[in-house]
Symmetry: C2
Subunit: 234 residues, 2 copies
DNA sequence: TTAATTCTTGACCATGTGGTCAGTTTTCGC
DNA sequence: GCGAAAACTGACCACATGGTCAAGAATTAA
């Protein structure tokens, strides 16, 4: 079972022999590695900004510093390039989907959850925007992923939250809405960056800003659903 | 000062005589009204789904049930159509930007704010997604609006929140982050509808779901920032 | 050095793009 | 009914699109 299927990305079946496209740690020569890195970086930026349809290979090729035909030599087609980027994003996301159990401390788990979400939004804003663009367009490539892998993840976390509520460690809020609240409020700072910067009249958010926001969100969530906060070295 | 400027949408100067495009309550004959309504509805859907670049006039024309040349007869150009949609959205948004004062009750104001935001997300999901798509792409047309009108609105609300905090009616949280929290968590249900539906395994969110979510978000926000909730007929 | 493999590229193609325009049809005030 | 204004439309244009291909250049393995 290859990664495309594991991640539920609706890839067209490509019966070609594996040319290294579906492996994360890239194989192939040093030239290929360098060029593919440049391509993926450029493509992610532009797909995130203009969506799948609104992106042209010509533009990606320019930003990657090579003629369009060379781009196509590496990526095969626009579709394959896009799917590959989605897969890479889902892989990154999965790093965060670590296991928790009902025995863990709610405050610690929720804090860590919010913090890591904020960090991902900061470290990979283009990935975040690419994902947002895909969902905004109705998730044509990610239906399977959403209804499968991601749904399972949410359900299992929900069970843990429920257990915490039953044991009186937090209020009996709907776990799914809670997860959505955390997702939306954290991703906002990547996806709506233009709005955030415009309103706060900044060129960029500093590390201090991010820390500030993270603390704010953590406090709102913990207090909001009745979890006693762990004291952090404030 | 026409509406385009009032709303800060970066329209190209169109020195043509007013043909009714920049007036909300449409003038012109009944045929024009009917056709423009169809066009705007179709265009909003498709722009929201595929972004500005990813949308073709051909597709809009089909959905609006007329040939492309007829479409262009009404809207002038793709740009003008897009700008017009943004203006309409900003106008709708403004309905919500009603005045509040430091003398109002925090719980009531915040509750009403969240509720109206959720209702707009429900009544005009395409508008919400259009706006999201524009921001995601770096807000090329809305820079002025964000840094002007909307920023002013946020700053004035912030002052009120600050006053409430000073009077001990709520915790001294950063008002701007609080506004972003409310915006993001409510708009999520329009913009990320595909994700919400996929994960909750539904075809659509019911009115009861929406009421449920609204209550959840209200409770989280009020409790989270230490506002005593008004009792609602639960 | 040689031979195979990988890489690079411009020319090219069918199709789609936003937009124009001339000419026709329909609607509407009188 | 008549004339003007509004509405409609197919043909057309220059250009961009995703993608192919053949042929050459660079790299690597023997």
């Amino acid at each position: 079972m290859d990664k495309a299927r594991r991640h539920g990305v609706q890839n067209e079946q490509q019966s070609e022999p594996d040319n290294g496209h579906s492996v994360e740690q890239e194989s192939g020569g040093v030239i290929r590695q360098r060029n593919e890195r440049a391509i993926l970086a450029a493509a992610e930026r532009i797909f995130a900004q203009h969506g799948y349809r609104g992106t042209s290979l010509q533009q990606i090729a320019e930003q990657a510093g090579m003629p369009k035909s060379n781009l196509l030599y590496y990526v095969g087609s626009k579709r394959k390039l896009y799917v590959r980027l989605l897969e890479r994003t889902m892989t990154r996301w999965n790093v965060m989907l670590d296991n928790i159990s009902a025995d863990d401390d709610p405050a610690e788990v929720l804090s860590a959850f919010i913090r890591s979400k904020m960090q991902i939004s900061r470290q990979h804003p283009e990935s975040s925007r690419l994902f947002a663009s895909e969902i905004l367009g109705g998730a044509p490539f990610l239906q399977e992923y959403l209804r499968g892998e991601l749904r399972d993840w949410v359900l299992s976390r929900s069970a843990v939250f429920k257990a915490w509520a039953d044991r009186g460690l937090m209020d009996p809020v709907d776990p799914v809405w809670l997860i959505f609240l955390i997702w939306s409020s954290t991703q906002h700072y990547a996806d709506f960056e233009a709005q955030v910067l415009g309103i706060t009249d900044r060129d960029a958010l500093s590390d201090d800003d991010l820390e500030d926001i993270t603390r704010f969100l953590t406090r709102m969530v913990l207090k909001g659903c009745g979890v006693k906060a762990v004291e952090l070295s404030q």
